[in-house]
């Protein structure tokens, strides 16, 4: 099902024959839209509608019970004087900045190990993929909390080596590392994509490099990395966007409060608390739109920089 992003631009090149025009095209389009209709209706009613109304609500003071009051840009301007908001931005930023590269590095490393032809690779692939299927679930967050609690396995294991950190769950300095470990552990999805990408790198490139006396590091830097860069780009984009949306595990591990001392107050968690604990839906909507804009800008920046480090096989360079 999962197909890796194409390594070649050839398919999109202008030399491809243009779609044939015929009298049937109108009927085809009608049939197409008819089949599209169920999804389109759902998309309009369940996604576009709520988005538009949340955009409107973000300019209002709305407490769920009374009709919204128009207050212009007030929500957006007060955001930047709200210390908890700024805290949530800090927490989320550090999570994205440290968690995403670590996760991708882990995924790439494991994918390279699994790429070699050995017995039982199918089993290992499934085994390494499994955490990403269950990782976002409620039960794993609860297990995580127990593992990193006082005298939990992690505390005991580290104490064995003379490292006495105590429980991570209650220590404001250790909760972010704990959350990052949880996301790194779910490297399965990017790993599978990396693996598919690795398989598309022609083996003769490595053979030629070996003949020229290139070591493993040289091969990685000069063959694997450039050949894989479109896949890295895709994974980086998806995982960055994904990391901004962390909610479930933070909600469960902190009992829905973002503690200790606000150290797990992720952006989405604060948004939720503002909306559903404090009944400030307008404020929460403004936060949601700000997040959308910021994630959009970051995506755009990644796209812009990609020109300098992503290589497609059809390109001249």
């Amino acid at each position: 099902m999962t197909q890796s992003p194409t390594l070649s631009r050839r398919s999109a090149s202008p030399s491809a024959p243009a779609p044939r025009k015929s009298k049937r095209s109108g009927a085809d389009a009608r049939a197409g839209y008819t089949f599209l209709l169920p999804w389109l209706l759902g998309f309009i009613a369940l996604t576009v509608g709520p988005m538009v109304s949340s955009l409107y609500l973000s300019f209002t003071n709305y407490n769920l019970f009374e009709p919204p009051k128009w207050i212009g840009l007030d929500n957006y301007t007060t955001l930047f004087q709200d210390e908890r908001f700024l805290q949530s931005v800090g927490v989320t930023t550090s999570y994205v900045v440290f968690g995403t590269p670590l996760k991708l590095a882990a995924a790439l490393a494991i994918a390279m190990l699994l790429n070699s032809a050995r017995k039982g690779q199918g089993f290992y692939r499934s085994a390494f993929y499994a955490p990403s299927l269950i990782g976002a679930s409620v039960s794993i967050a609860i297990v995580w909390k127990a593992m990193f609690g006082d005298s939990g396995p992690v505390d005991q294991g580290l104490s064995f080596f003379g490292i006495n950190l105590g429980g991570w769950v209650g220590n404001p300095d250790m909760t972010i590392p704990m959350m990052i470990l949880l996301t790194v552990w779910q490297f399965g999805a990017p790993m599978v994509i990396f693996l598919a990408g690795l398989k598309q790198i022609p083996a003769d490139l490595y053979e030629a490099a070996s003949m020229d006396g290139a070591g493993p590091i040289r091969k990685f830097l000069n063959i694997t990395w450039p050949m894989l860069s479109p896949v890295v780009f895709f994974n980086l984009l998806m995982e960055t966007i994904h990391a901004f949306q962390i909610f479930n595990s933070a909600y469960i591990i902190s009992n829905g409060e973002g503690g200790p001392a606000g150290s797990t107050l992720f952006y989405t968690l604060y948004l939720y608390l503002r909306g559903f604990s404090d009944f400030r839906m307008g404020y929460a909507s403004a936060m949601a739109w700000l997040l959308l804009i910021v994630v959009g800008i970051i995506t755009l920046v990644i796209f812009k920089t990609s020109k300098s480090w992503v290589h497609y096989s059809g390109d001249a360079k």
């Binding site: 769920l64 019970f65 210390e83 429980g167 409060e257 200790p260 001392a261 559903f276």
Partner: protein, 430 residues
Amino acid sequence: MINRRNFLTTVAIGTASAAALAACGTGSSTTAGETGSAESPVTINYTWWGNDDRATRTRKAIELFEAKNKDIKVNGNFTDFAGYWQKRATEAAGGGLPDVMQWDLSYLRDYGQRNQLLDLSTVKINTDAFEKSLLPSGQIKGKTYGIPTSTNAFAVYYNPEKLASLGIAEPDGSWNYKEFNAFLTEVGAKGNGALFGGTDYTGVWWMFNVWLRQNNIEAFTEDGKLGFTKDDLKKWWNLNSDLRGTPALISEERATQLAPKSPFGSNVTATEVTWDNFMAGYLADSGAKELKLVPVPSDDKDNLGLFLKPSMLMVASAKTKYKDAAARFIDFMVNDPEVGQIFKTSRGVPASKTQRDGTTFEGTDKLVVDYEKSIEKYLKDAPEPPIVGFGTLEASFKRISSDLNFGKVTVDGAADAWFKEAEDLIKQNA
């Protein structure tokens, strides 16, 4: 004639008109809402917060109610306190609040003033057996949104067995704040890391409220503003500032990891300052044979600042289709003596005299009833339902004082932060 082309349309129109007819049926029923019969009972939803102990008791009460009222089935559901309010908010937004709910005074204005709760004076619930001074706490602007199930008062719990094992004499409750702090320090010093004095009592909003009353200050003014100053709050948080970070108080790191269980229920602290109806929960959580209650500290021997608060209220959704069934269930839960026998003091001391007199209090339950009797002469009026958004303020009070224990803020910074949030919220809801 139905052909392939208009078959779907026909079916759609048929379904729609059937639904419309059904809707007419609902509309034409009486103001008592839909009623059931033994053959086809109506089902009402009831939700509450609490631990497993309360869940077992509530299910027993529901069974009893269903046995006595064959025409009503009750579908019960529960969560913990924090998650409870987020769920209710979501349901209220979607217009789907459960028919009957256990409620807290902190949230009565939020939902009552915003027309989410049923005015219970419009249905039949017997309140003759209630103390007249207690009922106003469930009323806002002449409408009755909640009926108190029971009362509770603030107290200091202690574990006599733990104190004896450390060779510390049991307190008698006639203490001022200095003596109370000294007591916590002694427990912490002798507890040797295994037992702490208590949880930081200055992080509890209602204890702050008690202290304000000891100093003759009202927490909120009539017009919904703050009745105390930033200096009052600083004074409060400074009361035990030299205890923070010492074994007299359990560290925030430990307390966080024990959550949602309390440190006292986990046998890690010797005392806890909180409501007297937590007895049953603490006994179940800690497995202790006996826990005792004494009055809170006060620097004014004649004014303990104590009051009886409705520990919880029963409310109904304004949109319930089964007003009659909801009213009968509420009446049963607050008045029936057998319900009193099931809950004992785990909801607080029953507010209705019928229920109270029909309940036998023994052992630890008797301690709770005796405690409320012993403080009778100090009691003042029950507080009115607090301001809109009070639940948020209560939560941020706890959060900010926990930041204080983490050493993330100074007392001055904490007071500034809380006042900023409070003023913002009051402005927001004005």
